[in-house]
Symmetry: C3
Subunit: 357 residues, 3 copies
């Protein structure tokens, strides 16, 4: 599945890129290495030495430079080679590509397109990732599927009634209530109100309540593939804002294509800091993990079917409204990007010896 | 390797398709789901929801219907969708393909070709699979090889002398005796009489006899790929029918292509019910498993060689007579089927959104 | 990666080919079987029966013949079939290809090209593999990479400073000293002298010395891909030949392509027999294994990068001198071999039935 290049992608949670140890992650089919220089700033390089294509992530950080672990070439924070053991001169071509990167509320975000287009105004609204009012445990799952199938899943919550009957869902009512879908800047907004249902198992660590509740979910799903959601439940029939008998969540989730066929899934769902303690946070995280594994198994099974008969038609149904609109937007942006012929990388001169092997 | 579509294939032993739980198995590259409706009848569907291609086998049986576990579409026994959560209308295209299926003497058999051609008269002669005179344990092996190599193996029992020297064979004499091969309706009949040999290890659970025996094997190997065999041993030189010093077996085996490169192998070898007890049946089954694993290892090794040099010539030898005649018959039928241009499936209209991903 | 066919390749250490049991190994994409006839001579056949392509390595040695384990065909030491169970006549085409093979100082060497060109004068100079003055443990590693990347590694020892910092290297000085590279018959010679460094960890089992040393390495790397090296260390500043404070090694290593994408790596590094005991030999072997595993991990990582972007340019640097010269020589020989249109095998007539499956 294709992906936009002119976009910020979540590459890692900030704690994954530690001081002193280079961190490897493939994004959009490109092996990247992330490391922190002497001032703690995160640097992103292509994870391949210009000499013989060994991954720089197998090398070591030396202050403000990164040294290749194969033959010892050393690169400064800009990607320029500043040392070649045993050689006096350093050819100008001895450099590796650097990618724009920013740590944005605990998300290490990398820009995979044209450097001049990298715009901080396009960073996502994941405020609860770093906010004293909210508490969570950061989550990561690797998916052996294209990102689009996961986006489809996130754009139609009717699946909560079936895939997550024992976890996030707990009732057939989610599927039977039609959400409101509106087009917003760079994505779609989906809102659903589910009145008078029992509390789903997932909520239990936070709220041990046996009565019936009203539930709501409102999320924006924006390009490239980020979900920002406010959701919750309150005593059935209670007025909005009657916080004594209410729990709410703020969730930030992002899909980053690893390759055309695999995806990094970064997620968290935060609860209010003043409700519950660390074990509450842990319990909710475990519940979320269990539910997201239910999704992963379903989507992997769906993919096996799609691969067994490529091009099989999908039958459009009313519940697909959000995903159809998002897909349309994505295709428009993809076409626009292709029309601009964005050069994805700095041009490289061919060398005499190539890596044919 | 290709396969006939207008044929009954063993899809499962009947105990594999339980009440209440859908059962998935791929046949001829087609993912299928088998389930029992309220009256216990086995139903076979393509294992993909018409909505977004999720496998229905991850859903649940609800009385006479099967519900998809992704977004909750529900299908009746004919494959027609009868419920779409959150939607009022059900489009006529909302249906899944149903395949003819019959439980025939404990074999769940599915017809993969044109529905109008499905003829119960073509069901195999596996009578001992359900007969009070015979006792056995049902067997299943998965083969990571095309079905044709396994058929080749079953069509030339000279391999018993070498592959199964320590199990089914026990003597070089099997290979040195030429069998009689005759063409029968839909296949070949192979008969072999091996006089005056020792009893092979495999027979030991049934007959602890130290003297010399005469052995015989007579089997039909018929399309698509079913072996029905009567075999046995008696005290050397004794007249046929002197049952006191005789043991005999009836064996039913079937190869069902999973894909072009993998095969389901269903097998059993029954002994007379009045001879031995449950531990006899178990002992024989374990011996058979051991021998069939010897075949599987040999055929996998043969396949690695064939893949390492595709198109390598095989040298025709006298012992290949049965397999050459069966192969010729199979190719004729395959060509006939192609000439009739059998539409393998009900035609499906293309939808606006396809599953390219 | 391509490979020369007219060359001796190490197929096995001699102890791998035991009496009585056929031994399978794939060389240059060709499955081969090695076995010893009644006089202990090693015979090499293609590992595929001419009948139905089953591997002969699953059969059994019977005196001076090898019998197929599938249907019992028996072949003499020349590859001619001398028995077909159940058949009276043996067709002339019933034979398997035999390859020239020689056991040369514990290396079982096979010639993969034109038989008439097989010349014992081309056997490698691995004298220490069988010499009373030297002691070692034979080593083997399987590489899931083309042989060329491993050759590149062996042709530039500057990597010792980085890949093997904790094992064979122990100092940045190896990379900073430029070796002398000369073209020799069939390969290149690389010599390096590294004065006044600490003893690397790898030497410790042999020499528990805390002072500074001078080190040297001189090796020939010759076609098809054999390294013969003399190396060592002596007390810093001591004259050459002051053997009291000196240790030296003789190493023989060979790369044999298994397929275009995988390689057999045979290696040993011998120490002087009069220095140390069996535990010394073992300790050195364990150190070597650890270091060669460091190489393997680096080269596998390099290969993943090369595969992720085929044709990526490599940047030529001074340290590549030996590998560039060896590559050039190899390409010349490869082109020459292609120009001669060497028929790699005896011509085979097509049979009526081929192995399409």
């Amino acid at each position: 599945m294709q992906a936009l290049r002119n976009a910020w992608y979540v590459a890692a949670w900030d704690h994954e890129v530690t001081t002193g140890a280079p961190f490897a992650r493939m994004i959009l089919g490109e092996p990247l290495v992330f490391w922190r220089n002497a001032s703690g700033e995160v640097i992103a390089f292509e994870d391949r030495c210009c000499h013989r294509q060994a991954p720089l992530s197998r090398g070591r950080v030396e202050g403000d430079s990164l040294r290749c672990g194969y033959h010892g070439l050393r690169f400064d924070s800009t990607g320029r080679c500043i040392e070649i053991p045993g050689a006096r001169a350093i050819p100008p071509r001895a450099r590796v590509q650097r990618f724009p990167v920013v740590v944005h509320r605990r998300w290490v975000m990398v820009w995979m397109g044209q450097e001049s287009a990298a715009d901080h105004a396009l960073l996502p609204g994941n405020f609860s990732c770093e906010h004293p009012d909210w508490r969570y445990r950061p989550g990561y799952l690797h998916y052996g599927t294209p990102w689009g199938l996961i986006a489809d899943n996130l754009l139609d919550f009717s699946h909560l009634s079936y895939v997550h009957a024992q976890t996030l869902g707990g009732t057939d009512r989610i599927a039977s209530v039609r959400p409101e879908v509106t087009r917003i800047q760079d994505g779609v907004r989906v809102s659903r109100f589910i009145p008078d249902v029992t509390l789903p198992p997932y909520f239990k660590p936070l709220w041990r309540y046996e009565g019936r509740v009203d539930r709501w979910q409102t999320y924006d799903f924006v390009l490239p593939a980020t979900l920002i959601m406010h959701s919750g439940a309150r005593r059935a029939g209670a007025a909005q804002g009657a916080t004594v008998d209410e729990v709410d969540f703020h969730s930030c989730q992002a899909l980053t294509p690893e390759t055309a066929d695999s995806t990094h899934y970064f997620f968290m769902e935060a609860h209010r800091s003043h409700q519950g303690d660390t074990s509450t946070t842990d319990g909710l995280y475990q519940g979320l993990l269990q539910a997201f594994e239910e999704d992963r198994q379903m989507i992997l099974a769906q993919l096996r079917n799609l691969r067994a008969r490529p091009g099989s038609p999908m039958l459009p149904l009313p519940m697909d409204e959000a995903l159809v609109r998002f897909q349309r937007l994505f295709q428009q942006r993809l076409a626009a990007e292709a029309a601009e012929s964005v050069p994805a990388k700095a041009p490289t001169e061919p060398s005499r010896e190539s890596s044919e092997h």
